[in-house]
């Protein structure tokens, strides 16, 4: 008897905690739809655990653990500094090459990794997709957040280099949060597009390495944006990655902020993000049927 009363009391509390009497409608909805932010908020706990799982699992059973987050970009920085800095002698507008490349490589590593992971997220989660419902959007969004841990650790390299080269922070640093958000929105926008495409066409997986490589050479990572001929500049700056890389450089190294690269980039990134969200939402209902 007492147990029963406890039970009812318990269930009542959970009822109160969740929208119990809410009426939900399931029906085929063809056409374009907004993202259901209310639903996403309901699933925030799950979102947290998915991100946290990605972080926990990434370096499970490795010897170096999170040192990998430093090691990988570090190797790349050293390699690029030797090839492009010392041998090819790329023009860096007077900045030491190692510093020049590291402020670019670290955001780039974040973007390329989170983009790749987001694009594969639905395929990797396919076993779960058919068994349980939660907003499909959580699949591509969680790697965007979990990869920030690596990014944060790798930022340590830049700080060390800045101390070593005695570069004092300037007011430009105030713009860093903006570039940080821009940096996250690019892989998110592309990830939304590619993940929903990848679920239908597995070609995405095969094209991904090439796509990433192309993006890398199209952005001023090993070279400086100023070496691009003026007439191509508008087309060039439509690549949002150009804006992020040049923005990071000017924020951290104190060079003037190159708005001519940044503004078109913000526009493209925003376009990718919004269109990606709509496209993802449109494809969401088909995911399980075509997996």
């Amino acid at each position: 008897m007492a147990n029963e009363m406890m039970d009812t009391a318990m269930s009542e509390t959970t009822v109160a905690a969740s929208p119990a009497d809410s009426l939900s409608i399931i029906q085929p909805n063809n056409g374009w739809q907004m993202i259901d932010f209310k639903e996403l908020i309901q699933y925030r706990d799950l979102f947290f655990f998915l991100v946290w799982r990605d972080i926990k699992v990434l370096y499970a059973q490795t010897i170096l653990g999170f040192s990998w987050a430093v090691l990988l970009p570090l190797i790349q920085i050293v390699l690029f500094s030797i090839i492009f800095g010392a041998i090819a002698k790329v023009n860096t507008d007077g900045i030491p090459y190692i510093l020049f490349s590291s402020v670019a490589i670290i955001p780039w590593t974040y973007m390329s990794q989170s983009m790749t992971q987001a694009s594969q997220s639905l395929i990797q989660g396919s076993s779960m997709l058919g068994k349980i419902y939660f907003p499909r959007l959580l699949y591509p969004v969680s790697p965007i957040l979990s990869k920030l841990v690596d990014f944060g650790i790798a930022m340590g390299i830049i700080m060390c280099l800045m101390v070593y080269y005695r570069i004092s922070p300037t007011w430009n640093l105030l713009f860093l949060p903006m570039f940080f958000i821009l940096m996250m929105s690019i892989p998110l926008g592309i990830g939304l597009w590619l993940s929903s495409l990848a679920i239908r066409f597995r070609d995405v997986k095969h094209a991904m390495p090439f796509f990433i490589q192309m993006l890398m050479y199209s952005a001023p990572i090993v070279y400086s944006a100023s070496s691009v001929p003026g007439i191509y500049r508008i087309v060039y700056s439509l690549n949002p990655i150009v804006g992020v890389i040049e923005g990071f450089r000017s924020c951290l190294l104190g060079t003037p902020i190159p708005w001519m690269y940044v503004c078109p980039g913000i526009f493209t990134a925003l376009f990718l993000l919004v269109s990606g969200a709509f496209y993802f939402k449109r494809m969401e209902r088909l995911i399980v049927d075509v997996i």
């Binding site: 399931i26 699992v57 349980i132």
Partner: protein, 457 residues
């Protein structure tokens, strides 16, 4: 859906899939090359057609070979607190229905209204990650199933107790035995408290004890006034748990009624093991030149051939056979095997009128009556055979030739009385019980106990 007492209202739900694409073959190089060039476009169209159904006519009953209607025009209402079973053959649309209700897949047409929080258990341990510890997986799996973090915090100790893996909470799940993993996963699932629970029979895999736990938990959930939809192939479980059952067939609702009626209709439809088996051609029937089997069937008291028999009524096992040669004494026998493969009994023809008596050629029908309140619930398979005495020889023997489902209608008259839980035992006789009481004042009982103690000390 304005009615507040409704938990689920399903209106004309259909779901179609496209199946099977024909591969074109070319037998010359030119054709193959052309095909190779065209294939990206063709592949694109093929992929597209998986979810674009522009060419399908929804209004008419379209019998196209490449379209599979997993659900077609399904409608039903479920009241709050109802426990409803869903049965049907493989491919009848049961799992698709659950997937549509749990929002995993979207219906092609129709509308569903759901009031309350839904949890679906199509699998235990969805999202378990082998690298994470037991504790971490409880949280991950719990939130995936729709619990909030603070809810899991509250129930965490209960969940761990239930699973019995306290010692390994900080061990990665990949080091668990498969049994431990299932126990932990089920413990999480068992502590869900949704208003509406959708359960697939996948839950009922595992050892007998695990199944028992599942069934008990389901009953608890049902008793607490929550709405449950339960997909199953196990007729005893369905009749025991669900007062109401929906039978799906070919994606449509065939019957939606009180459980025992639906279950017996399902079994009688001849789709499960049949209650009758006839050999129309004597030469193809089991037997030899002396005696041939002609048919075996299960009959109720009213002489109806059936697959579903009431636990309280007598059941007749009937065998029809042709005696072809004169001069033999026969021993006819039946044996009964339950759904776990255990031999329940063997019964030998003991009709005194035919004892030690030669049966002349002719068509014979022998019936063995099993009294009511003897068999246990569930599927039983009947085998039969005939031996001759002189010479001592087995003429034929057939195993599991017909089946019958013993169903408890739960009227309180049977051996179950009012108990609804798991009821073990290969037979379920209605024994005679007697209770005697000697009246006594409550105080004198206490008093006698204390005096006893006093005597001892």
């Amino acid at each position: 859906m304005n009615n507040k007492d409704l938990a689920i209202k399903v209106e004309h739900i259909s779901k179609c899939y496209r199946i099977g694409f024909k591969e074109q073959m070319h037998d010359n190089l030119c054709g193959t090359l052309l095909n190779f060039m065209k294939s990206p476009f063709k592949n694109f169209r093929t992929h597209r057609s998986l979810y674009k159904f522009d060419d399908v006519n929804f209004d008419q009953s379209d019998d196209r070979s490449d379209i599979l209607w997993a659900l077609k025009d399904v409608s039903f209402d479920i009241q709050k607190g109802e426990v409803v079973g869903i049965i049907g053959l493989n491919g009848a649309g049961k799992s698709t229905l659950l997937k549509v209700l749990s929002k995993i897949t979207v219906p092609t047409s129709g509308r569903i209204g759901i009031r309350g929080r839904v949890s679906s258990l199509l699998e235990v341990g969805t999202g378990f990650h082998p690298e994470l510890t037991g504790r971490e997986n409880v949280y991950l799996n719990g939130t995936i199933l729709g619990m909030r973090k603070n809810e899991i915090d509250q129930k965490f100790d209960e969940i761990v107790d239930f699973s019995g893996v306290e010692k390994f909470l900080e061990t990665p799940v990949k080091r668990y035995s498969s049994g431990m993993r299932v126990r932990l996963a089920f413990a999480v699932a068992a502590h869900l408290e949704p208003e509406i629970l959708l359960v697939d029979e996948v839950l009922a895999v595992g050892d007998a004890q695990f199944q028992k736990k599942c069934i008990e938990k389901m009953q608890d959930v049902g008793r607490n006034g929550r709405t449950v939809l339960f997909v199953s192939h196990s007729m005893p479980a369905v009749t025991r748990l669900c007062p109401r059952v929906i039978l799906l067939n070919g994606g449509r609702v065939e019957i939606d009624d009180v459980s025992h009626r639906v279950v017996s209709a399902y079994l009688q439809a001849g789709k499960a093991t049949k209650g009758e088996r006839i050999w129309p051609e004597p030469l193809e029937a089991p037997g030899d030149e002396v005696v041939r089997l002609s048919s075996v069937r299960v009959r109720t008291r009213d002489k109806l051939v059936t697959e579903a028999v009431d636990i309280s009524g007598p059941v007749g096992l009937e065998i029809e056979y042709l005696v072809l040669q004169n001069g033999y004494e026969f021993k006819i026998y039946f044996h009964l095997i339950n759904e776990e493969g255990i031999e329940v009994f063997t019964s030998l023809d003991n009709d005194q009128a035919w004892r030690k008596r030669i049966r002349p050629p002719g068509r014979y029908v022998s019936t063995a009556w099993i009294p009511g309140n003897l068999l246990s619930e569930g599927m039983h398979f009947v085998g039969a055979g005939i031996r001759t005495l002189n010479p001592e020889l087995k003429r034929f023997s057939v195993n599991e030739i017909v089946g019958m489902q013993v169903v408890d209608s739960m009227d309180g008259q049977g051996a179950r009385v009012d108990f609804t839980g798991d009821f073990p035992g290969i037979i379920r006789p209605l024994l005679k019980w007697e209770t005697q009481v000697t009246p006594m004042e409550p105080s004198s009982v206490v008093g006698s106990v204390t005096t006893d103690k006093g005597m001892k000390s």
